[in-house]
Structures are given as C-alpha cells and as structure tokens.
Amino acid sequence: MTIPENLRAFWRVRDLALVVGVGFALYCASAIVIVSHLRLMPVTMQRMVEIKNFLQHQKPNNPHPAVHLLGSSVLLEGVDCDIIDGELGDAGRAYNLAWTGATFRQWLLVLPAVVRSEPRAVVLCVDLPSLSSTARIPEQRLNVAAWWDFLGPGDLDRVGVLLDSEELRALRSSRFSQLMRFRALPLGAFDSYLREVARPDLRYEGYETNFKAPWVRRQAVSAEALERNIEQYRASIAAQTDEQRSAGARMLRAVIQQAGAGGAAVIVTLTPLHPELCRRIGQESVAQAAERIAAACRETGAVFLDDSAFLDAREFSDAVHPFTNGRERWSAALGRRIAQVVRAAGG
C-alpha cells in the first residue's frame, strides 16, 4: 500500500472528525443555553450573579442611599435587612449581599461592583471561623465571575494583587475555557438543590434574588448536632496557625481599603458566636481575634463592632448561625449602630 492509499483510508473516515466537531459545537451551544441563559447552576452561584446584576442596576433605580452588607451564611441567616431599614429610616436602605461560603477573597469578586454602586456604607460581617481562611476561591466560582464579567480589566489589576496566580489564571481565561468549565454546573445545581433547597429546616424561597432576609431557618439543630457542630468549629479554629491569622488580618485590611475606595463608610462586625463555642475556644482567643480586627479597622479608618458575645445560647440554631429570635435582636442592634455611623458620616 502506498502513502496516497494510506491517506485515502484516513480521508474516508473524515466524517468521524466532523461528527466529533458537531458534538463539541452542540456542547458549547447547550452550555450557553443551559448555564449562561437559563442559569442552571448551584443556587449560591446563581445568587452571586444576581448580586452582581443587582449592584450594576441598583443605583439608578433606588432613591435611597444603599448600605451593603457582605458576609457568609452567618449573615444570610442572621440579618434581616427590613429590620435594619426600620432603624435607618431615610438614611438608607440595607441589602444583605451574603452568600454561602463567602470569604474575604470571594468578597473581592464583587467589591468593585459594590464600590461602583456608590453605597453610603459597606458592612463587612466577619465570622471567626473564616477570619483566617486562606482557602483559594473555588474554581467554579471564579469561572462564573469571569463569564459574567464581575471584574473589569481595571478591577482585575487592583484586585489581582490580592489573588494568587491560579485564581488570576481562571479569571483571565478565554471564553472558550470558561465554557468548557460549565460542565459541572448543572450537576452541581441538582446536587445543591437536594442538599440545600429541598431541606425542610430552611426557608429557601427567593434566595437567589432576596437581598433582605434571604435564608431563614425553620428549626434549630438537635442537641447532638449542635455538639458536633461546635466541636467542628472549635477544631477548625484551633487548627489555624499564626501565619494564617496574620494573612487573614492583611487580607481584611486590603478588603476594607477596597470597600472604602468610593468614599463609603466601612463597618466591620465580628459576628455572634455560640457561648459554648466561645468557652471552648477560650475567651482570650476570641479577644485576640477581635483585637486583630480592631487593629485593621484603626489602620484603615473603619468602624469595628464586636458582636461575638451579643447573643445567648437560646438565640442560635447551631454554633454560629443566629436563630429567628437571635436574628431579630441582632438585626435591630446592628441597624441602630449602622444608622449612627451613616448619620455621623453625613447621611
């Protein structure tokens, strides 16, 4: 057999390459429809996209100055912004922009949009377990942030110095690579639906676009589950090294500076901790963490509110998440102090 004959054999199976190409094109088209347009992805990522869209369109439609609260699930469950609005009066409208698992690094993805929305104040709700978290932003969240342009080219330069090379690579990846990473999102949507949305102990209605009281717990966890939960948090906090604590404080300073870049007042609050968790960690450790945050606030001109001991044991649904009664009391108290800061800042 000659070379041309060999080549002819390959030419005769050219349809295979074509068909694989069609499969590829179908994937790309379906990914654009399913993920980009229908937003079939884990609810937390849907919420991140909605937060970004809300921040982009909120200012022109809102006659009241905004107060944006950033945080993790502690804020999601722990703060009702309607109660804060009652305290703020005409001084502003508060928005709960928390999402599950949000850390300082993840806040960086929405901070430019927060600043561009020109809020009167930004409240950073810091929970002790994530204070020293140095965990990289999950790849899927970075991919969502990249596809929906959370960070413009200028933002990427400013925020980029706080991210590592892997995170930057994901944010700067091509549209095609981002599309290829969409494959995990629909399955993740199914998974998160079963794990979070379908759970009977949570009210999860309108979570993606609810920026007031997004996530309400219907029942507190059992005594055994609480014990497990407290122990898990104790272990994770005890495992934090001095290096991680210093890195956490540095990151917090940078986040405060970013949040206040547009002239907004920045308030940092250390969220409430279950008294039993405080006891096991040791009051001294909690005080040291509070002092690290206070120092960061002093250096950057932010206001620090230490609410770590604000709630009693009956006001928690687990080790760190306030229950209904705790949410109401903490929201009102937080609202009063935010209103003071906003008014003092000229609101």
Binding site: N6, A9, L16, V19, V22, G23, S30, E139, F190
Partner: protein, 493 residues
C-alpha cells in the same frame, strides 16, 4: 500519560501520521517502539531501564531456549527466565510488603520490629510486562512459539504502548505474527478502532470517574456507616472497577485496531455471570487464562485427584490475588475466589447459565410456560447469588484496613435496614447522581449484552446511526468529564 489526556491524543496522532508516511516495515516498527518507550517514560524516565532490562533479558533467554540442544539446557534457561522475571517483581513490588509483614509478625510476637523499610517506587505496569515476557519464554520452552530472532519485534511485543501498563496480557503466538506484515491503514479498521476507543473513553470518563468519589468516600472511612451505604459503596466500586479496567482495555484495543493490530478481549460481561467459574471466564480473561495455562495446569490442574485439584485452585487464585497488589487484602481476595471456585467444583455448579435470552439460556423447545418460568427463576437466582459473592469479593479487594474490612463485611452480610438518607455520610458526593449513573450503566450493560456488545452494535449501525452515536458520546463526554483526572485502577498493579 493517561489515554484520556491531550498528551496521549498528540502521541497517537503523531504515530498514525508517521506510520502513514513511512513505507518500510522496519521503520514502522522503529516508530512504534519509540512511541512505546516515550509512552512509558512519561511516568518516570528512569523506569525505562527496567523495561529495557526485561526486554534484553528475555530476548536472549528466548533465543537460548530455542537454540538449546538438550532438555537440561532448556530447563536451565527457563529457570533463569523465571528467576530473573520473578526477581524483578520480588524486588520492585513485593520487597516492602515482605519486610512489613515480617515486622508485623515480630511485633506481634513481642519483638521490636527490626527489618528496615526499603524506599522502592513501584514502576507502573510492571506486573503486566514481566508476565508478558515470562509467558513468551515458557511458550518457547514448550515449543508453542519459535524464539523471536528480531530484537525490534520482540521489544515491541514487550513494550507495545496500547497495552503496556494495564494489559491485556498478550501471548507471543497471537501478537508476533501480526508484526510480520507492513502496517497499512484501512478505513474500516480506523472506524471500528475509533468506535471502540470512544466506548472505552465513555466507560472510563463518564461512568468510572463519576462513580469513583462515592466508593472512595464510603471506603476511606466506613466505620459507623449503615448497611445501605456499604452496599451502595460496594456496588459503586464494582461499577467503577469494571468500567475503569474494561474502558482501558477498549481504548487499548481501539488504538491497536487503528494500527491494524488486533489484541484480544479482556472482558466479556462479567456481571452477567451466574457462577464464579463463569465469572472468571469473563473477568480479566488474559490474566485468568495466563494463570490457568502457566500456573494451574503446570501444578497438575485437576489431573491428580480431588485434594490436589483444590490445592491447585487455592494456590493459583491466591497467587493471582497477590499479583494484583502487595497487600494482604489482595491475597485474601484471591484465596476467597479459590474457595468459591472449589465450592462450585465440590457441588458441581460451575457450569454457567447465562442470564438473558442468549442461545445457551434458551429453554427446551417443548418446555411449558411454567417450566420456562422455573428455568428463568433458577437462572435469576443463580445470577443473584453469584453477584452477591462477586461484590462481597470487591469489599475484600477495596478495603485495606483489617478493622474496616471486618466492619464492612459484617454490614454487607448482616443487613441493618437503616435507610436514613441524612445518614448516608458520603461527604460531598451527590449519591443521587451516582445512583442514576449506576442504573444507567446496568441498563446499557444488559442491553448491550443481549445485542452482542456495544462496539459491535456501533459497527453494525448504518452510517447516520454511527454519526449520532459518536456525536452523543462526544456531547456526554464533555458534559460529564470530571474536573479531576483519575488514573486507571490497574495502573498500580
């Protein structure tokens, strides 16, 4: 270099292109050999020394056996071959296992562990290529195959890249004659090879890699998990190991078919077996037939009475278990298979009654409806019992710690009827997706069994059907390709 990576796609494309442009057989062989060595060195370049050692060693021993004038000299060279090949395995695969076992025994007897640990990295695929070259010398010794004079062809036989690291274990008599002709490309072979490769890729990437996290999460820390979860974990592992290994074999055979070289099947629907004997005719066929031809029969097989037959079965399966890995759980797994095979022989239930409407399963023509139903129920019952023991075996294969093994076996055998969903305890794995994937796998498995094999069905489809299948497979691959690449399970053996 895994089959599902872009590096392998580049290597394969380069080899195909180079073979198209080269007209002489020798040059084609050189290309295949270089590609095979590059493929092997992609894991760790230093391992090539071991591969070269085995190649040179067995090439010259084969010639020496072929040229030996007396039986004594043949015997001598055969012993040298066995000694050198098993020596390589003993040093690189079993040294640490032996030292650790001696230390464990010493500690158990109250002495201080004295044997030093040896820091030896297990070269990938070592069990496969040593068995390859050892089998070749035994065949030359038996006169089944002539000693190969061409070093080039012999080196390809040892290092042929599609099957180098996880088989199937080739027989020289099947493989070497195919190298005596020039490789020419044929559209039909290319198409069928690509179909087979695609089937294997889907098995590995879509099924095995998506099911694996569930099995891993269950068996990494099984203590406290209810029976339902242990069952789910072992079913997941059964699906994982089959799709992983048979997927690899399909990709190896697909690649080789594209090059115009046929390598034998390694799996024939093992989960449709109704007896353990039948299972071993369908699972890792190249190893079980190797063990039969080069170990069980030379030991005497079933020719020296009942007691010796059982001894030979136990010895063969025990060593077969040890071949898989240097750990006691593999030995126990092998012995367990030996016990099951012996029990089947003892009660004369080793003959297979294949599930589903195969020709062998067809009831007698004049059988009444009730007789047919009874025959069907018996077959189904036999299948359930066989698969129950097969999956119990997977527990022994998968769980390495003794306490975990005892716990898992207890939960598997004595079902606790605890179905609390919240207590599934499988970490971040989505069990519903994995269960859906497993159900889909079993449906496709049974259907393709009845239709005579998925790749064969693809080959028989009209052109538009093949296009739809390839397009759907590509689409499914892209959607279900896990974010983390997983190596093939059998690479570690």
């Amino acid at each position: 270099m895994l089959f599902q990576t872009s590096e392998y796609a580049i290597l394969l494309t380069s080899v195909l292109l180079a073979l198209v442009l080269v007209r002489t057989r020798t040059l084609q062989h050189v290309i295949i050999l270089i590609a095979s060595w590059i493929f092997y060195m992609s894991w760790d370049p230093i391992f090539i020394i071991l591969l070269l050692y085995c190649t040179f060693n067995d090439y010259f021993i084969g010639i020496a056996i072929g040229a030996a004038k007396t039986q004594a000299r043949k015997n001598f060279w055969l012993v040298v071959s066995l000694f050198t090949n098993l020596g390589v395995l003993a040093v690189f695969k079993y040294a640490n296992f032996c030292l650790d076992s001696v230390n464990d025994v010493l500690t158990w007897l109250g002495y201080q562990a004295a044997m030093p640990a040896v820091n030896i990295v297990l070269p990938v695929g070592i069990s496969f290529y040593t068995f390859h070259s050892m089998g070749y010398n035994i065949d030359v010794y038996r006169g089944k195959t002539p000693a190969e004079r061409s070093f080039l062809r012999f080196a390809i036989y040892v290092a042929y890249f599609p099957q180098l690291v996880a088989g199937p274990i080739l027989r020289a008599g099947q493989f070497l004659p195919q190298l005596s002709r020039t490789i020419t490309f044929d559209a039909e072979n290319l198409r069928r090879g690509a179909n087979l490769f695609l089937v294997g890729l889907v098995k590995k990437v879509v099924v095995a890699d998506n099911v694996a996290p569930l099995a891993d999460n269950v068996f990494n820390d099984p203590q406290g998990l209810p029976s339902a979860v242990i069952w789910l974990g072992v079913l997941a592992f059964g699906v994982q190991i089959y799709c992983d290994f048979s997927g690899y074999t399909d990709m190896a055979r697909g690649t080789s078919r594209m090059l115009g070289i046929e390598i034998p099947i390694n799996f024939n629907y093992p989960y449709m077996a109704t007896t353990i004997t039948d299972f071993w005719r369908r699972w890792h066929i190249s190893l079980s037939s190797w063990l039969r031809d080069y170990l069980y029969i030379p030991l005497g097989g079933n020719r020296h009475g009942v007691a010796m037959t059982y001894r030979n079965l136990m010895l063969t399966m025990g060593l077969g278990g040890l071949w898989h890995g240097a750990a006691w759980n593999f030995v126990i797994w092998g012995l367990y298979q030996g016990v099951l095979l012996s029990a089947e022989r003892l009660f004369n239930i080793g003959e297979a009654r294949p599930v589903a409407a195969g020709a062998e399963a067809a009831p007698p023509r004049r059988a009444s409806g009730a007789q047919r139903a009874l025959a069907g129920a018996r077959t189904l019952l036999a299948w359930l019992i066989c698969q129950y023991f097969v999956y119990l075996g997977w527990l022994l294969f998968r769980v390495h710690s003794a306490s975990d093994l005892v716990y898992c076996v207890r939960k598997y055998v004595v079902f606790d009827f605890d179905f609390r969903l919240a207590g599934l305890g499988v970490g971040n794995v989505n069990p519903f997706f994995v269960i859906s994937m497993m159900i889909l796998f079993f449906l496709i498995h049974v259907t393709s069994y009845r239709l005579g094999g998925l790749a064969n069905v693809l080959d028989r489809l009209p052109r538009w059907g093949q296009w739809s299948a390839a397009c759907t497979a590509t689409f499914a691959l892209l959607w279900f390709w896990p974010e983390v690449e997983t190596a093939f399970i059998y690479f570690q053996f």
